[in-house]
């Protein structure tokens, strides 16, 4: 691990305790979304559109209703019609109308798999059989399935009633939901003065987050119009907010209990089945659980936007960037929100660019409504920028790390959207990359006949959001601390949050017991996403722990009848500064504290954590005859701010790299012209297996964030950004070929090799 000066003597932070929820998860006891069983529970199932774009003329549910074992059938007629009111949470936004229509279509289906009706039955098989009996009469329309089709003059329009915002102008009858522009300085002048200008356009297919646990939603709607929901989500409060909107209920009528979550990567922020189970429960007055199949997950959830990104960069004769331009067109899917602001923020984030202009388009297409996917939109734009940078280095013969260092973004560099960076660690990451065993190792470019090897490097960025979190602490009579939080734990955050409270209190991590609770039992907490959880909820835990110490001191003062200024606390012991006889352990003060139990509570609403940067190096081997690519050596370097639990930080870096490698090489939505995803199974979606990856080396660089007491930055998202361009650059290094489309699959490699010959 590369560490910057601030080497504090932490007792808990930086250690690797066993995560608190680990025992339940290795024994099968942990309860995930599908594992819940409630007395009298019915099974829900939904009818989905077979067409990507169609008007619903009529729905006949009578045959399904007549079936033995069917308790209720619903359509969108059972949902309130919502208006075009803007809504949002920390990671997604849109209108209430679109939120509701995505749950169940009212008049029009906009993607294959769009829900049109639902059934509650005695068991799963009966529910599925009943769904088959629902008859829907469609008027099939021509779908648009990529940005070119959607932006074409005579394109079929998804939302006739919707106005797009084009640079502030309201525009009707368009699939461009938004066109935004960010400008800094004079790019025309910059390009004019440039010694070299390189431009590339990349084309990326839609990808899916691919979490192993399909979505679920379980609900009870009681006689008092209170709705209880159990679901696997990245944000129980986001679900509460969305469900209450779709059902037109006050938020306090909805209580969401988060189950353990089997992966999300952004895709478990939107709601899908929860309101449907709720309405079915209202009709039956019984609990209803609805699950998705894997094909449903591919057809109708996620995905990460595909699209086209053009980047142009000009440099002077010294190799300094003078100007940069980006044209970003991303697929929002059926409803607006393709994360184009994030794209604009990320596209030139690794460089000091004196003049830049960014045009970004949010384009609706007949695919499932896109969801955040790990650093949403950043990998898409990084592919373009990092390819252009690599090409500049190739043309000019620059060392790719030296060029990046020469133009590196650092504290004070102005960012695309205006503000200047506070302390960031990209420079340190590039230096660590340069100093790494991997970068210093020799690459055998032609290891055996027919095989070529190449090395590529790329950097990437995610801004790491802040927002709201709440934590409650209570000191138990045995001197241990219960920590109550609202951040659903997707990969070890119970541990990283509890460790921060334990560090403040000076007690072992195991002595703080974290629980993730329902929305009635803790203050509002934003989603586990945007790499915010260890940062923001951890900050709340830090504050709550300090408040707990204040309470301990106050109560000790009452007990000893001395002034609280006379008391100090450290490492689980409270004592008088003056009288060495006056001393209590946490257990002793917790036994019978004057004035009631010792509890504390804190909430935060934070700014961004200060950007997170990653630099990845990829070595790969290509079989020239078949186009097969194997990753043979891979190193992920990242500024992690401060690694609270280093094992789980490494895990984020490795997992992000693995997803990026899959994205680069094989993963895609392979669509028919009719807008049907043809590879909607794990078999054909081709996520990496254990045999497809090498060990992924990690180098954690610690440049503490200025925004957090321990310097936490958020680590989950930056590592998915560099892999696609790093692999593209490595392929170019091996074969002298620029592949500008993902996936860079075998057939594309052999085609490109043939063209070259």
């Amino acid at each position: 691990m590369v560490s910057t000066p601030e080497n504090k003597n932490y007792k808990v932070i930086g250690t690797r305790p066993i995560r608190h929820d680990g025992y339940d998860k290795v024994t099968g006891r942990a309860q995930y979304g599908a594992d819940i069983k409630l007395p009298g529970m019915l099974t829900g199932a939904v009818a989905r559109s077979p067409y990507a774009h169609a008007k619903i003329k009529s729905i006949d549910t009578s045959e399904a209703e007549k079936m033995d074992g069917v308790f209720a059938v619903m359509t969108a007629k059972d949902l309130p019609r919502l208006g075009d009111v803007v809504r949002g949470n920390s990671e997604e936004s849109g209108s209430e109308k679109h939120l509701s229509e995505n749950v169940m279509a009212f008049d029009k289906v906009l993607y294959k798999g769009h829900v049109v009706a639902a059934v509650a039955a005695k068991d799963q098989n009966t529910a599925f059989e009943a769904v088959k009996k629902i008859k829907v009469d469609y008027e099939v329309l021509k779908p648009v399935i990529d940005v070119d089709q959607a932006m074409a003059k005579d394109a079929s329009i998804l939302h006739e009633d919707y106005s797009g915002d084009h640079l502030g102008k309201k525009v009707k009858n368009t699939n461009i939901a938004a066109h935004v522009r960010h400008e800094n300085g004079d790019i025309d002048n910059g390009f004019e003065k440039s010694d070299l200008v390189v431009e590339k356009e990349v084309d990326m297919q839609t990808v899916h987050q691919g979490y192993l646990e399909p979505h679920s939603g379980t609900a009870v709607w009681d006689e008092e119009d209170r709705v209880k929901v159990w679901t696997s989500t990245q944000g129980s409060f986001a679900v509460r907010d969305s469900v209450s909107k779709v059902l037109d209920l006050d938020v306090s009528r909805v209580k969401v209990t988060p189950m353990e979550i089997g992966g999300g990567f952004g895709g478990k922020i939107p709601i899908y089945l929860e309101p449907i189970s709720a309405v079915l429960s209202k009709k039956t007055r019984r609990p209803v659980k609805t699950l998705m199949s894997r094909t449903d997950v591919f057809d109708a959830t996620g995905p990460g936007p595909g699209g086209k990104v053009k980047v142009k960069i000009g440099i002077d004769s010294e190799g300094k960037i003078l100007a940069a331009y980006a044209d970003i067109r991303l697929e929002a899917g059926a409803y607006p929100e393709a994360f184009i602001e994030a794209a604009a923020k990320c596209v030139f984030s690794c460089y000091d660019v004196p003049s830049m202009k960014i045009d970004a388009y949010d384009v609706v297409v007949n695919k499932p409504s896109s969801a955040p996917y790990r650093a949403p939109a950043s990998p898409q734009v990084a592919f373009a920028t990092e390819t252009v940078v690599d090409e500049i280095c190739n043309i000019k013969g620059y060392d790719p790390i030296d060029f990046r260092l020469k133009n590196v973004a650092e504290k004070g560099t102005r960012t695309a959207l205006g503000p200047k960076y506070r302390t960031i660690g990209l420079k340190e990451c590039l230096e660590a990359a340069k100093d790494s065993d991997h970068w210093k190792s020799n690459l055998d470019s032609n290891p055996k006949p027919g095989k070529k090897r190449g090395r590529g490097i790329a950097s990437g960025y995610w801004f790491n959001i802040g927002f709201k979190s709440s934590v409650n602490l209570s000191l138990n009579p045995d001197g241990k601390v219960a920590l109550i939080e609202g951040s659903t734990d997707i990969g070890g955050s119970r541990a990283s949050i509890a460790m921060q409270a334990a560090e403040v209190l000076g007690i072992p991590a195991e002595d703080v017991r974290p629980s993730v609770v329902d929305t009635d039992s803790i203050g509002i907490t934003d989603v586990t996403g945007g790499s915010r959880t260890t940062y923001a909820t951890g900050y709340a835990a830090y504050n709550a722990a300090h408040k707990l110490i204040e309470q301990i001191i106050e109560k000790s003062a009452l007990k000893w009848d001395i002034n609280k200024d006379q008391i100090e606390y450290s490492d689980g012991v409270v004592k008088s500064k003056a009288d060495s006889e006056l001393k209590m352990t946490l257990k002793e003060i917790a036994d019978d504290p004057p004035g009631g139990p010792i509890v504390s509570s804190a909430s935060v609403d934070l700014e961004e954590a200060g950007g997170g940067f990653a630099v990845h190096i990829a070595d790969l081997e290509i079989d020239e005859e078949t186009g097969k690519t194997d990753i043979v050596n891979y190193t992920a370097i990242q500024d992690v701010g401060k690694a609270i639990h280093p094992s789980y930080v490494e895990g984020q870096m490795q997992g992000g790299a693995a997803q990026g490698i899959g994205w680069a090489l094989n993963e895609e939505y392979f669509m028919s012209d009719d807008g049907i995803m043809l590879n909607s199974s794990y078999l054909d979606y081709r996520m990496p297996t254990s045999l497809d990856l090498p060990m992924i080396n990690t180098i954690m660089v610690e440049v503490p964030s200025e925004e957090h007491p321990y310097g936490v930055r958020g680590v989950g998202e930056p590592p998915i950004v560099p892999p696609v361009p790093a692999i593209g650059n490595a392929i170019n290094n091996a074969l002298g070929l620029r592949l500008l489309s993902t996936p860079m699959k075998p057939s594309r490699i052999t085609e490109a090799l043939k063209r070259k010959k």
């Binding site: 098989n125 599925f128 097969k628 094989n666 590879n679 497809d692 052999t750 085609e751």
Partner: protein, 287 residues
Amino acid sequence: MHPFNYYAPETVEEAIEILSKYGDRARCLAGGTDVLVQARGEKFELDAIVDIKKIPQLTKLEWTDSYLIVGAATPCHILYEDSKVCEVFPGIVDSAFLIGGIQIQSRASLGGNLCNASPSADAICSLIVHEVICEIAGPKGVREIPVEDMCTGPGKNALTEGEFLVSLKIPLKKGEFSASYERFIPRNEMDIAVAAVASSVELSDGKVSSCRVALAAVGPTPIFAKEASELLVGKEPTHENIKKVSEKAKDIASPIADMRGTVEHRKDLIKVLTRRTIEKALERAGG
């Protein structure tokens, strides 16, 4: 899924009786790795599933003077964990070792893979190049057909009502014979072949006395590339001669473009894999 009944007959006759009764609304259950997935889909409905694994001969390996007889429901792992099978039929083992992951290999069988008749099946090409004979039992008794006649279209086989595949008879060769199977997949496991080739060769006095090449995922069924195979018979196995076979195999391949691959890539792969599998088979045969 349409609800179905489960039968587990213990004799061939019993199985024929149940299969005859239900006609096309019954299917045999061997490993279940294809049929159970399909029964859950929309393709067909079943009223009965007939588990044939309780019929003793269906899960047995038997060596006779002329054949290795593999019960149609014998799971793949039985083959690759048997040292004699590995030694005598490495080409068959190539296939058994590639079907799915370890979990699938605990259940999936060569017979099931054959009857499922997928154009991209991993076992069928190997069976073709080993000149395997299918032993089929039915209401009219037992009949035998060459394996290349088994697949009649994507997902369609030569079995008629009440019939099922009992065993695969792999002929034992006296001479310097061996085979090899290789598929191309973009990942390293758990994929369906984009294109695949099995080749077998028999050597005598430094020349190829017989050769069989079969191709998968480049036509509606796995293809016995007879014309390509014949090009090597009576010849020395030189690079030049092998190249002619691979080029012919490429000509014979008539793939479609789909999510798993393009026409051009598949044809190119056939050429590469034909060469690689012939070379491997020659190496194994001791040539």
